[in-house]
């Protein structure tokens, strides 16, 4: 079931949570809505579910080709999983999962044996068979999350919507559940949208990432696409650590921190100020100078990890980070105070000077 929303706006008093968002969610894939808090991602999810009403003048919300904007939440057949699970505390795991089947009108309600079989199948799917008689308070966070998922799947939803599904879990369980959700989805292939503020989570789990900021979509695309080819400075900044330099575009070249580099973006753009973004792993260290490398001094070393992160200072004012492998770190005998030539292997240039604090 593909989902299309067009020109969706939502404001709460003076605060505008969504500003004319249009989006296509492909069928049978996992899509991540990624953004900082206040970016409107949860509001968009709740509007798709029917838990919030978009402002007057917003466009349609289509499930496949059917416009559901006027439909009530009960009629939309969505599975919604809340960040804090929202399990019914007074019901057993079994009754929680059976809830959506038991509240159906009499003529649509399945027989007890059918409900029983279905609930047990779902509990098996989420690896909780044998827990049917437990109460939510007797389960761990990860188990509760899986009960919430089974409960949402019981009504055979057309789409599955997850609001910060791993947000309330500790780091280790979160990683396990991430991998598990991905496998589960490969099994049942239901159109899934999940909201997260964690870029690692989005890049790892999703087939498609929608980066949101201040009520707008900044970029939508495959994880590799948004990571390697960010459309805006915001996306560049939000997806992982990045070094930012103020520079200039002149004569088809980019100048920053005492180096001048040829770059395709510079050829297409008129002369003027520019911002240069380089990820730490896109820098390499060399003992000998090149025309496009900049001299820098090591001021800090963080070697506990798969890569070594160095803090470097260039001409006394620019401080930036570079990630190098443990092998290179040992071969170059890097120490604090050592001087190297730093070569950008890749970089991105956005014309214009530093953005204002709050864009309109």
């Amino acid at each position: 079931m593909s989902i299309t929303v067009e020109n969706i706006s939502k404001s709460y008093g003076a605060f505008q949570a969504l500003r004319g968002v249009s989006l296509d969610i492909p069928d049978s894939q996992i899509t991540a809505l990624l953004g900082p808090s206040g970016s409107g991602k949860t509001t968009l999810l709740r509007i798709i579910a029917g838990l919030e009403k978009p402002d007057e003048g917003s466009g349609p919300i289509r499930f496949h080709h059917e416009d559901v904007a006027g439909r009530r939440v009960q009629e939309r057949r969505v599975g919604f999983v809340f960040q804090h699970y929202a399990l019914f505390k007074h019901m057993s795991v079994f009754e929680n999962v059976a809830f959506g089947l038991r509240v159906r009108p009499k003529h649509e309600r399945p027989a007890n044996e059918v409900i029983d079989r279905k609930v047990h199948d779902l509990l098996k799917l989420v690896q909780l068979d044998g827990m049917a008689h437990r109460f939510p308070s007797q389960l761990s966070g990860g188990q509760r999350q899986r009960v919430a998922l089974a409960r949402a799947l019981a009504v055979e939803p057309r789409v599955l919507l997850l609001d910060e599904p791993f947000g309330a879990l500790d780091a280790r369980v979160r990683k396990q559940l991430r991998a598990w959700i991905r496998r589960l989805h490969d099994e049942i292939a239901i159109t899934t949208i999940f909201v997260t503020h964690d870029q690692d989570e989005a890049l790892e789990v999703a087939d498609r990432v929608v980066v949101m900021n201040e009520g707008r979509v900044e970029q939508a695309g495959a994880p590799e696409e948004v990571f390697h080819d960010p459309a805006t400075e915001f996306v560049m900044n939000f997806l992982g650590h990045v070094n930012v330099f103020d520079g200039r575009i002149e004569d088809g070249k980019v100048t920053f921190a005492s180096v001048q580099i040829e770059h395709p973006a510079a050829l297409e753009t008129a002369a003027g100020p520019a911002r240069v973004f380089i990820r730490p792993h896109e820098l390499s260290l060399h003992l000998l100078p090149r025309s496009d490398s900049l001299p820098a001094t090591v001021t800090g070393i963080h070697a506990a990890g798969p890569a070594v992160r160095l803090t470097l200072a260039a001409d006394g004012e620019h401080t930036f980070s570079a990630d190098i492998s443990q092998d290179v770190y040992r071969a170059l005998k890097v120490s604090v105070g050592a001087k190297f030539w730093v070569l950008p292997k890749d970089l991105r240039v956005f014309p214009g000077s530093a953005p204002d604090a709050g864009r309109l």
């Binding site: 939440v73 019914f88 059976a98 509240v103 308070s137 009504v155």
Partner: protein
């Protein structure tokens, strides 16, 4: 001298504090309670029960049960509506509403009674209209019920508002996404979530409804056998030097208090213990 934790008082301080507490409890709570029962039984069990044979006493008991029987359900409906509005909606004047709910607790019951006399009494605002339609509120049962509803108004709402605010709306939203209607959500999700707090409010409301004296006294008119509730009947019997009967009827209120306390403690214990009920509902296989 051995070291003691910084917050531990010397032994004599603890003994003194405990002694003061016990003395006050004995003087102001236990002694009167014992006195009620000893006075009631002073002339034996026969005289005790004879007190309840008086038709005026029986009528007072009936009126009290009727009043509580109306006031408590009205309170439950109002309390649920108020708590739901405050906890789940945003609207202007919300904090004013929560303050107003507490008004009956802040105002002297006699004043609340007087307000009803001013509004519904013969010389009150609505007095002439009521008289023209042959309706009597003051010095009649409707007045007693109105006054009781007023003084008990905060009890259920005050128990529910903080709980429902804390619980938020996720459980209800969850039920809606699973296809439940508004009523199904209320009966199957909201009500079970608040049942103990609701019962707690009902118990307190009932105790107050049955025991209210001041407000009811003003609007009742003390018509023997007609507009006297149990507390008013106790006063009348006492003023007539019929001590055994007065204390016998008073012992009913004392027992109500004890039952209320027991029920309250039980509910408090249920509310603080794990939310999972020990009674596992049967597997519907």
């Amino acid at each position: 001298m051995s070291l003691r934790p910084a917050t531990a008082e010397p032994r004599w301080v603890r003994t003194l504090l405990l002694a003061i507490t016990m003395l006050f409890l004995a003087a102001f709570l236990v002694t009167p309670l014992v006195a009620v029962f000893t006075e009631a039984l002073r002339k034996g069990v026969g005289a005790y029960f004879a007190g309840f044979n008086d038709p005026a006493v029986r009528s007072a008991i009936k009126l009290t049960l009727l009043t509580a029987g109306i006031a408590v359900p009205v309170n439950v409906v109002f309390g649920l509506a108020a708590a739901w509005s405050v906890a789940k909606f945003e609207f202007p004047g919300k904090s004013l509403l929560t303050t107003l709910i507490d008004l009956p607790l802040a105002v002297s019951p006699v004043v609340s009674g007087l307000i009803y006399v001013l509004v519904f009494g013969l010389n009150g605002w609505l007095g002439p209209w009521l008289k023209a339609h042959h309706l009597q509120v003051i010095f009649a049962v409707p007045g007693i019920v109105l006054a009781t509803v007023f003084v008990t108004l905060p009890f259920v709402a005050r128990e529910l508002i903080p709980l429902m605010q804390e619980q938020g709306t996720e459980d209800e939203e969850s039920a809606l996404t699973l296809g439940a209607s508004g009523w199904q959500t209320f009966w199957r999700v909201t009500l079970p979530n608040i049942r103990w707090a609701l019962l707690y409010g009902v118990i307190l409301c009932n105790a107050r409804a049955m025991g209210e004296f001041g407000a009811v006294s003003v609007v009742s008119g003390h018509i023997r056998g007609k507009t006297n509730t149990v507390p008013l009947q106790v006063e009348i019997l006492y003023n007539e030097y019929n001590f055994v009967a007065a204390f016998a009827v008073a012992s009913l209120l004392a027992m109500l208090a004890l039952v209320t306390l027991a029920a309250k403690s039980f509910i408090e214990w249920r509310m603080t213990s794990a939310p999972a009920s020990p009674a596992v509902p049967g597997d519907p296989t």
